[in-house]
């Protein structure tokens, strides 16, 4: 009599462990998903490298720029140039311009992605204002740089050979008051005055 009950409890404990494991996996999926996107460039996640590769090519390419501002952020935010022409593998510098239209200093952070989404892994940033938070004084206008190149591999892959133009898009959000919660996710390096 007792041994069936023991066996039942033992099986149930194993199954409860499975349930706990699956709950854990659900939460682990948050960082895993981010890493997966960064590694594979899925969903238009651009890559990050320290410098451009040695290989230069003669293939013409266009990068366009797009800017969005969250309605809660009283900034004017726009690209200085609509597009740049470059060769695959060539390092380029472009600027965005932001103005604080309010009468108090505000800190913002930008999210970014590129379209077409499949080109994400071939668009590589070397340096970007979006890596850090930006704080603007009332009425202040700053130019914010982004340095990037387009990986020549984009031309060698059959799925992306048709891509001749990439659009880089930013959306600026106000940085939230609660310090800990935002920084835990976006890991700002606090070097806010880059622009």
């Amino acid at each position: 009599m007792a041994n069936v009950r023991d066996k039942n409890l033992k099986t149930a404990m194993v199954l409860f462990t499975v349930v706990a494991g699956m709950v854990g996996l659900a939460f682990a999926s948050v960082p895993l998903y981010r890493i997966f996107c960064q590694v594979t460039g899925l969903g238009g996640t651009p890559g990050v490298q320290a410098s451009a590769p040695e290989v230069k090519t003669d293939t013409d390419f266009i990068v366009r720029f797009d800017a969005n501002t969250n309605p809660d952020l009283p900034w004017k935010f726009k690209p200085v140039q609509r597009e740049v022409h470059l060769k695959l593998g060539e390092e380029k510098l472009a600027f965005y311009e932001a103005t604080n239209m309010s009468d108090k200093p505000i800190t913002g952070t930008a999210t970014f992605n590129v379209t077409p989404l499949k080109a994400g892994q071939f668009f590589v940033k070397i340096d970007c204002f979006c890596f850090t938070e930006q704080t603007l004084e009332p009425g202040q206008t700053i130019d914010m740089p982004v340095t990037f190149y387009v990986d020549p591999e984009i031309y060698n892959k059959v799925n992306t050979r048709d891509v001749k133009t990439i659009t880089l898009s930013y959306t600026f959000y106000p940085k939230e008051e609660e310090e800990g919660k935002v920084s835990a996710l976006s890991q700002p390096s606090k070097a806010g005055e880059k622009g």
Partner: protein
């Protein structure tokens, strides 16, 4: 050995000793009573959820706005319809109701492994249903669709606590199902009658076993995702909010990692029920028993690696979509094995067209129609056009919604004699089948055409071009409603004036163990477990 597993029943001396009303139905630890309460819960939710869908069809009968001028209310109706039908009609009836009633009987066990936990599952389900009903009266209600995608479900678009109530409702129903799943797995693994090996279990028991594993693996992921959504809404986290580094697409991945196995959770017990019915009324063992059992296991496994076919339009790259298209189509193989084996079971059998068998035929027809459109939708390139049209609505109502309802009706007619001791009226049962069969086909088949013509889901109004098919669809809904009312008439007639059910009303084809106990099944059964050694598989 024979008395090994009935430790919980020491205080009951006789098979027919019933406790008082409150302790019998509210504090029940008896698998049959709990199953009965689950069935009533399911019927109540079906009336509410079905009523909502008929109200929706009333609005959609003609172009323009006739009855529902508050569009958020329309969203609340279709959302609650989905939640109710999935979590509080099909799951409680198939798993909680028929599963509780017949899994212990079919394996010759005296009860479930953890009878008190069984009671907890039952009342958590009730609490979940209560939470869902409350949510309709909080703020503007939950108008998110059953998929609860952020940002629609975030604080920006649903600021009231309604969505929080909805989330807690799913948490409770999910916890109930996880506990129930653990109970079923332990019962099936440890409490089978001596000699009943895994490969001798009836296919309904197999289907509940696979379903329980799906619940165990899928529901915790939903619970995790819902918790993230809850903290996003109330505690300032940013799991699904891009402003804080989150990603709303992550919700879709997590939701569908649960959501796709969920549709198999709904349909697998139906497979089990249909196997029992087809075998009984063809008076033959199921063709390819092992193939049938492992086809269900295969469907369960593959069901976990196809979730992104619900998200072809979010911007997945072409290789990912190619994989999910191929993986999705693979599911047609084990489901094809099942259809083939049911037909092969009937082939050459002495088929008896009683009401449960008619429902089994109906199920197979509906499932094949829905399966064919499923293979169509699996193509990611075609799905970009079909996505969020009525074609999808027609597909999933055929393949999992009314197919599951047909299996439930079939199971009710098949087992009501065993459960209540009263037999239904065969003539009325057949009439109810034909009314319902004509109704649902008239209701859902035209939606294929409306969808192919581009009619979007979840919209209370539509251009005049779609008026014809929508009118036919609404007429079908009316016929379905008549069929539903007829079912409840049959139910009351059975209780009030049904003839006495024999121990085995179906004759030589009904071989499983529940037909070896009297009708109605006594309060306690198989306290001495039968010895099944040397007997044939009890399919």
């Amino acid at each position: 050995m024979a008395n090994a597993a009935d430790a919980h029943h020491d205080d009951h001396g006789h098979d027919d000793h019933y406790p008082g009303f409150f302790s019998r139905w509210f504090c029940s630890t008896n698998h049959k009573d709990i199953g009965t309460v689950y069935l009533y819960l399911s019927m109540f939710a079906a009336i509410v959820g079905g009523g909502m869908s008929w109200y929706i069809r009333l609005e959609l009968a003609e172009p323009g706005i006739q009855h529902i001028d508050d569009f958020q209310f329309y969203n609340v109706l279709l959302t609650a319809h989905g939640f109710l039908m999935v979590f509080f009609v099909v799951m409680p009836a198939m798993i909680g109701g028929f599963g509780n009633w017949f899994v212990p009987l079919m394996i010759g066990a005296p009860d479930m492994a953890f009878p008190r936990m069984n009671n907890i599952s039952l009342w958590l389900t009730f609490a979940g249903l209560g939470m869902l009903l409350i949510s309709a009266f909080v703020g503007s209600g939950v108008g998110t669709g059953w998929t609860v995608y952020p940002p629609l479900s975030s604080g920006i678009y649903h600021p009231s606590a309604a969505v929080d109530f909805g989330i807690l409702s799913l948490h409770l129903a999910g916890a109930a199902s996880i506990l129930g799943a653990i109970n079923f797995i332990v019962t099936i693994f440890n409490m089978r009658a001596p000699g009943m090996t895994m490969h001798k279990m009836p296919l309904f028991v197999w289907s509940i076993l696979v379903t329980a594993f799906l619940l165990l693996l899928a529901l915790p992921v939903l619970a995790g995702a819902l918790t993230m959504l809850l903290t996003d809404r109330n505690f300032g986290t940013h799991f699904f909010d891009p402003a804080g580094g989150g990603d709303p697409i992550l919700w879709q991945h997590l939701f569908w990692f649960f959501g796709h196995p969920e549709v198999y959770i709904i349909i697998l017990p139906a497979f089990g029920i249909i196997s029992q019915i087809v075998s009984t009324f063809s008076k033959k063992p199921v063709f390819g028993y092992l193939g049938m059992a492992y086809a269900m296991a295969a469907i369960g496994v593959v069901g976990f690696v196809v979730w992104a076919h619900h998200m072809y339009t979010v911007g997945l790259d072409v290789d990912t979509r190619a994989y999910f298209t191929a993986a999705t189509m693979v599911i047609a193989v084990p489901t094809g094995v099942k259809i083939f084996s049911w037909l092969a079971t009937m082939w050459g059998g002495s088929i008896d067209f009683k009401t449960p068998m008619l429902y089994a035929f109906g199920f197979i027809f509906l499932f094949v129609v829905g399966g064919v459109t499923g293979v169509t939708l699996a193509n990611s390139s075609a799905d970009l056009v079909f996505h969020d049209t009525y074609f999808v609505v027609a597909h999933f109502h055929y393949v999992m919604a009314i197919a599951a309802i047909f299996a439930m009706f079939g199971a009710w007619y098949y087992w009501i004699g065993k459960m209540s001791g009263k037999q239904y009226s065969e003539g009325l049962g057949k009439l109810q089948f034909w009314v319902f069969f004509v109704g649902v086909n008239l209701l859902f088949f035209p939606q294929h055409f409306a969808g192919l013509a581009g009619m979007p889901r979840r919209i209370p109004d539509y251009p005049d071009a779609y008026a014809g098919w929508n009118y036919i669809s609404s007429v079908g809904a009316l016929i379905t409603a008549i069929g539903t009312v007829l079912f409840f008439v049959i139910l009351f007639r059975t209780y009030a004036a049904g003839s006495k059910a024999e121990q085995n009303p179906w004759g030589e084809g009904a071989t499983t163990l529940e037909w070896h106990v009297p009708s109605p099944a006594p309060f306690h059964t198989f306290e001495d477990q039968p010895d099944m050694s040397g007997k044939a598989p009890a399919e």
